[in-house]
Symmetry: C2
Subunit: 338 residues, 2 copies
Amino acid sequence: MQILVDVMGGDQPPEELVRGGVEIGRLREMEICFAGDGRQIDHAIRSCGERPGRRFHILPCSQVISMQDAPVRSVREKSDSSMVRGLRELRNGTVAAFVSPGNTGAVVAASLLVLGRVRGIPRPAILAPIPTLAGQDLHLLDAGANADCHAEHLLHFARMGSAYAREVVGVDAPRVGLLNIGEEASKGSRLMIKSYTLLEAECPGFRGNIEPHEMLEQRPVDIVVSDGLIGNICLKSIEGGVSAVTGLLRRSIKSSAAAKLGALFMRSVFRDLRYTLSYRERGGAPLLGVNGVVVIAHGRSDAHAIRNAIDSARREVEAGLTECIARTVPPAEVADGI
Amino acid sequence: MQILVDVMGGDQPPEELVRGGVEIGRLREMEICFAGDGRQIDHAIRSCGERPGRRFHILPCSQVISMQDAPVRSVREKSDSSMVRGLRELRNGTVAAFVSPGNTGAVVAASLLVLGRVRGIPRPAILAPIPTLAGQDLHLLDAGANADCHAEHLLHFARMGSAYAREVVGVDAPRVGLLNIGEEASKGSRLMIKSYTLLEAECPGFRGNIEPHEMLEQRPVDIVVSDGLIGNICLKSIEGGVSAVTGLLRRSIKSSAAAKLGALFMRSVFRDLRYTLSYRERGGAPLLGVNGVVVIAHGRSDAHAIRNAIDSARREVEAGLTECIARTVPPAEVADGI
């Protein structure tokens, strides 16, 4: 298996991301292709004690899509970018999956343009892993690919998320919740109320509305669906809450000698906390519903985070994720699908 | 000044809430009227060493609107509930403000029914205080009164929030942000894009989009506006993130002797943390845009929290909040207003 990594456009330099790729390539005995500045990548591979061309390959590209670029326009104009070129390799079947820590909107736009949608899936969605106090992650989709959605889109998200939970995570009968602001079917916006009714009728694993704090504490379901705006607000608010607490802790520890001493005794606690909550351990968010395995890593990804993202792309390829997603579309809808 | 407290329908027993009311009534030398079960309230006032009828009054009511009740129906059917009766006292001018830790949807519905909207304000909104790392709170509205909104509603929220920041908090030139998933004007749903354009044109304090984590870390604005669904999801997600971290900390401290010892040295740090982040210190969320000062306290409010909620109602009455809100409506719209 060969997985392609777009090493440009993230917050970390290409060297850092190549290092993560080389580590996981060695561990899993698989080939990794790095797309981006050829000289930088060549140098980075050699710094890891490897020679380009054996297990580790270079796809030299002259352009970069940055975090500030407008998604659709940059994808159209930068045809020699690591992102567009990398996705073309995936479409041609040269590589089995594509991983990028770059501009999320651009990854979605480029994937739609280059790979296209799975027949019958109206909107691809980003599936984000969320840490919970129950130990196991749950998965939220859509985490930000589609700001405006219809209830039908949420039904597809529920089906795609369930397929992921079953085939990649290994959950027997995935339970699905609707992200909302109350338990009752009448809660939330018109979209939420309509989605509730549709999910109840069409999704066997549906368990009703889930509120954000419930999601983190009890992990009452495996998959949570929402439109991409609410999903993204929820994720960023959780992140904000977590980093507010850790920021406050850090600050008040610094301001007291006794607390500094106490913090020494609590090192293992803080290490556990960082480990449990960090996106670095989570391995990126797959984009479900496009023709190919695409994993969006966090923009801040370092070697360790990108290594986990590549490893989750590998698991998704091995599980035959794209075919699983295609099978979630009922036959009648495949015929209708464009 | 007399403030009325609905002591039924919260998670804590009436005795607890009466205790908080008596404390703040003594401190501020103001009268408090407690609405609810007459015998329980009488007993609670006497347990605090006071005699009913002097500074502390009882409005005996036979019905309770619970957290599980459907808002509109319960308000229509339970005309002798502490909530409906209390709001009638406010409408009649017997009391200056109404505070309730009860069913939020029911408080909104009952306020609309009993007090009515301020002329020219199409939708009342809940203003929630949010703790930030910068020390001072910022305020988010709508925190949950309206799930479906138009851009025009968000403009009214921006004006009402600015009036609150100016007149109650004392901010000279309040800055307003739009809660969104990215900085650029093109980010978010159609509602967000339209709201951005409208706010830019009509709201002098508008500073663009704000993402949830920014809001908590840097406090770049004084007021953040959003529809009630997104506002409520954001609040509950922050709460969830915060309690996930503190829950994890608690658990791992318990599991190690060294960490237990460390935690002893860090007591002041944890006390600071609780203090900074707790809703108990924040004093409830006013419902802006109805004819009267209405404060919604957290359902879990204990004596200390309800005391702060009553105290913030007092500040709002003293600032002439309802009149300030009425002045936010441009004269042309007052004439059009129903």
